[in-house]
């Protein structure tokens, strides 16, 4: 199956299942608010009653940020500790929502209801829960070993670099190697999850092993598809951020907040697009 066709079908499915974006975005927002809750309370208490609060409208500056660092240092440390809880819960949610997304993508009927999404999430939760556990040793091998090995010649080259350009290319290539390996690991586990849903399999480990076989013959197109969507999302992300640079001052403040939430939602759409395009590619290649 051509990757462009998989991409097009992925786009169509994402559009059809766009209600999923709402669920995912709301959850993302909810956990974000949970993390920031104590901060919002402290900032409201200190800056809400101070004229300095007006500075916050202009964005980040080192007068008010200095006050936060100088006077809320302990509170910030506590905040970081607190954030571990919502972050852990969010990981659980991510596992759950992957099931929900892939379940809805795989479903033939048109309905994208919350109930259906939750039911899919529940159905696939335990087998999806095993995927990151299998992923841990893979991450260790890929980044603890393979990445370091691939970096050895780069590091050796960098050590003897004759000037800043050698240094620049060595470190930039290092970043590229990292991204390449990261995308490969992502592809592996994306297709493993797709296999678990599409083939109605319950065996996560087996699915991962089988995915090696699947990717063995199609690594280049599968990788190309992934990189294509990644490139599209990088461009979309950059456009959003460039526009957000224009929203300045007190007048742009609220528009900026809304704009960034639109971006947060678009990001969830991209997540669905990845899984949808890869699902179509998987199914197309199985025929």
């Amino acid at each position: 199956m051509s990757i462009l066709r998989a991409f097009q079908q992925g786009l169509a499915t994402t559009r059809r299942r766009s209600r999923l974006i709402l669920y995912l975005w709301l959850a993302n927002l909810f956990f974000g608010v949970l993390v920031l809750g104590p901060f919002i309370y402290l900032a409201g208490r200190d800056f809400g009653s101070s004229l300095e609060g007006d500075r916050l409208l202009q964005g980040v500056d080192f007068i008010w940020l200095g006050d936060v660092i100088l006077n809320q240092g302990d509170a910030l440390a506590g905040l970081a500790g607190w954030a571990l809880i919502p972050f852990s819960l969010y990981l659980v949610w991510s596992i759950f929502s992957s099931g929900g997304i892939l379940g809805r993508i795989a479903a033939e009927e048109e309905k994208t209801t919350l109930a259906a999404f939750v039911s899919d999430g529940c159905q696939y939760f335990f087998r999806f829960f095993r995927v990151p556990l299998i992923a841990i040793p893979v991450y260790v091998i890929v980044f603890g070993l393979l990445y370091k090995l691939l970096n050895l010649p780069l590091a050796a080259w960098s050590r003897t670099a004759g000037g800043p350009w050698g240094d620049f290319w060595a470190s930039t290539l290092g970043v590229l190697v990292f991204l390449a390996l990261f995308s490969l690991v992502r592809i592996l586990f994306d297709y493993a999850r797709i296999r678990l849903v599409v083939d109605r399999s319950r065996k996560a480990f087996r699915a991962v092993v089988m995915t090696f076989g699947f990717l063995g013959g199609r690594l280049v197109p599968a990788w190309a598809l992934y990189l294509l969507i990644a490139a599209v999302s990088v461009v979309v992300l950059a456009l959003f951020l460039l526009v957000s640079r224009l929203l300045t001052g007190a007048s742009g403040a609220m528009v900026l907040v809304v704009w960034l939430q639109v971006l947060a939602a678009v990001r969830q759409g991209i997540r669905i697009l990845f899984l949808a395009s890869e699902s179509h590619y998987y199914k197309g290649s199985q025929l």
Partner: protein, 703 residues
């Protein structure tokens, strides 16, 4: 052209009597006392990474003491082994063992011969000394050399020294990488003899810079042909030896207290002139003369030859470097006094020598990257700062070991002023492994003083600013106290005294102590004399102590005055009781007349530090009808309340409305609103929320 040694010295000495304008470099203005004269011959061994040199030092005893020995710094022994004070302190603080030099990378300096001019050998008596206490035992950076007979007051002693040094591969400020070199703190160098106290000659500490006497230097540097060399002072001679394929460059400079050089075959060397008439308008001179109460002629700047040594990879940044150096020459010159030397050499630090951002007399190192962010004012900040040390360290020779704020604090403050004046606020830059990420984000704009405050006030309670560099609680406390906190203190002083008075204070300190070694007390005295105010309370608390400064508004209430007071009152000889019903009735009858509100404001001193008796705090209270009431508070007690009767309620109250007290550790509590306004909080929450959501999203992508 080949210049005879005696001829060069004669030229140098002629300058001492004649002033400037000749072949050799001597500073403009009255000539300082210089207890030292150096002539050094040094050869770079590129293959062995060694220096071999000999040196003739003449030291004159300018005190009333008889001096029986001479103490020398052998700074490179700081990089000799783990027993040096430098590595012991670094290990205790920041340095992992893995970051220690590898095989063949240690540096050291050996004296192979030391003798008086008449040939008497001093080597048998010489011994390493540890003047900074038993914790530096084993350190070899200070050498004590007893003399056969003491040097009487006014007498001189001439030493002949031969030395051999291994250049450290990676060390502080000096290093080699491939065939690129930066050579600083490299020659045997006497400490400063202080009358009644003896030699001030500290070990090379991790957190410390240096201290030395003013001297005349003549230095002959021999390098393999093909190297591009830069050095302190002015190039006076260059001779090629075609047999040995070497080149010997001679640099001379009077009235400086250190000498550094660099050699790198890849350097581009660019020379331009700072032409004062092009850089400063008559109107600027006239305006400043009016502000400082002096004549335009006192302010006129000389022209200066600017020499840039820069890596070819940074070629496109040549103009950027010169523009920053010109701004520094202009504003340091205008505000604090003309730059007196003929040359200034700006060095883009040789690749991987770790020598960036360092000052030496008439030479400094900058530092840039392949993609400097627009408006981040880097390398501009480091250029202005390191040039500025030519004033605060170079010309005013304070003791960096013992009172580092006198150079770093004054210079961080001055750097911020020049950058703000010449460039305006800068943006924070954001890079990932050399990749400029800041093109995507709107990075915050800031002035140096804002960042200095945020950092400097974090260490107020750890150490006084005036603390010996190696005696701070931590490297962080050293850095933030002597740079940022001291700069914030000076910024506050400027706001208390006024900008013009502050420039006069610094100018008086600069011009009064050029080529001398002032202490902190001299700065305090100058500030008091020039401003005509008692500032003992200020420096006592902020320079010599660890007290937090924090004033704030703690309460603000407006209540409607009742139409009448409740209770029993003696009226016309009988008891008249006013009941709530009566009050309601009176209110009803007077409902058309204007209401009145009693506003109460409480201000507090949260910190231990106090404002000075002559510097009361201002309290501003704004009311709903747009009126603003102003009161003053002497700030000596812990709290004070203020009452206002007005026909309207108060909207807000603010103490120190002009934000003079940048030293205040909590500016948020300086004002209080009657009704909270959360728009700003929501705005910033919205921004942070997005970044937290992004972090969550990224984390979720891993599972």
């Amino acid at each position: 052209m080949r210049t005879d040694r005696a001829f060069v010295w004669a030229g140098l000495l002629a300058l001492v009597s004649a002033g400037s304008g000749s072949l050799l470099a001597a500073p403009d203005g009255p000539l300082p006392v210089r207890p030292l004269r150096y002539e050094i011959w040094v050869e770079l061994d590129n293959a062995q990474k060694m220096l071999r040199g000999r040196e003739e030092i003449t030291w004159q005893n300018t005190t009333r003491d008889e001096v029986g020995d001479i103490w020398l710094h052998l700074y490179w022994n700081a990089f000799k082994n783990e027993q040096s004070a430098f590595f012991r302190e670094a290990r205790g603080q920041t340095l992992a063992r893995s970051a220690l030099p590898r095989e063949g990378e240690w540096g050291w300096i050996d004296i192979s011969r030391i003798a008086l001019a008449d040939g008497r050998d001093l080597k048998p008596g010489m011994a390493f000394a540890t003047p900074d206490g038993p914790e530096t035992e084993g350190d070899q950076t200070v050498l004590r050399v007893p003399l056969p007979e003491p040097v009487p007051p006014g007498g001189r002693v001439a030493l002949k020294i031969e030395f051999e040094s291994k250049i450290p591969r990676r060390a502080a400020r000096t290093a080699y990488y491939q065939d690129r070199y930066f050579i600083g703190q490299w020659f045997p160098k006497p400490g400063v003899y202080e009358e009644g106290k003896g030699w001030n000659c500290h070990a090379y500490h991790e957190n410390s810079e240096f201290f030395a006497d003013y001297a005349d230097f003549l230095v002959h540097i021999t390098v393999p042909q093909g190297f591009v060399v830069g050095a302190s002072g002015k190039l006076v001679d260059a001779v090629r030896d075609e047999d040995r394929r070497t080149e010997t460059l001679t640099y001379g400079q009077t009235a400086i207290h250190d000498f550094a050089w660099t050699a790198d075959p890849s350097f581009l060397k660019v020379e331009r002139d700072f032409v004062a008439a092009d850089e400063v308008t008559e109107a600027e001179y006239a305006d400043l003369a009016r502000r400082l109460g002096c004549s335009v002629e006192d302010l006129r700047l000389p022209n200066v030859r600017m020499i840039l040594l820069i890596a070819p990879e940074h070629k496109s940044q040549i103009d950027r470097h010169f523009r920053a150096l010109k701004a520094a020459l202009k504003y340091y010159g205008l505000w604090y006094g003309p730059y007196p030397y003929e040359t200034i050499t700006m060095v883009d630090p040789p690749f991987r020598t770790g020598s960036g951002g360092m000052e030496y007399p008439t030479l400094f190192t900058a530092g840039t990257s392949l993609f400097p962010t627009d408006r981040a004012w880097s390398p501009e900040g480091v250029i202005v700062h390191e040039f500025g040390h030519g004033y605060w360290y170079g010309l005013v020779g304070s003791n960096e070991f013992e009172e580092a704020w006198l150079d770093e604090g004054l210079n961080t403050y001055s750097t911020g002023k020049v950058i703000a004046e010449a460039y305006g606020p800068g943006v924070l830059s954001l890079n990932l492994k050399h990749l400029p990420l800041d093109v995507l984000f709107r990075m915050p704009l800031f002035l140096d003083r804002e960042l200095n405050r945020a950092g400097g006030l974090a260490v107020v309670e750890l150490d006084p600013i005036v603390t010996a560099s190696w005696r701070f609680y931590s490297r962080m406390s050293y850095a933030l106290n002597v740079y940022q906190r001291a700069a914030t203190m000076l910024e506050t002083l400027e706001r208390l005294l006024g900008e013009d008075v502050m420039i006069r204070v610094l100018r008086a300190f600069q011009m009064g102590y050029r080529y001398r070694h002032p202490r902190s007390e001299d700065f305090v005295r100058t500030a008091e004399q020039v401003s005509g105010r008692d500032l003992g309370w200020f420096f006592g608390q902020f320079l010599y102590d660890t007290l937090e400064f924090d004033y704030g508004v703690s309460a603000l209430h407006s209540r409607e005055l009742p139409a009448a007071d409740l209770g029993v009152f003696d009226r016309d000889g009988r008891k008249d009781e006013v009941t709530p019903e009566r009050v309601k009735k009176i209110k009803q009858e007077n409902k058309d007349s204007a209401k009145a509100y009693r506003t109460e404001v409480a201000v507090r001193r949260f910190g231990e530090a106090k404002v000075g008796p002559d510097f009361p705090l201002t309290l501003e209270v704004a009311f709903e009808d747009g009126s603003v009431e102003t009161r003053t508070w002497d700030g000596q007690s812990r709290w004070q309340t203020f009452r206002f009767i007005k026909p309207v309620k108060a909207r807000w109250a603010r103490i120190d409305p002009e934000s003079r007290w940048l030293l205040d550790s909590n500016l948020t509590n300086n004002s209080l609103r009657a009704k909270p306004s959360r728009a700003g909080v929501w705005r910033i929450t919205g921004l942070f929320l997005f970044w937290v959501q992004s972090a969550l999203h990224a984390a979720g992508g891993l599972v």
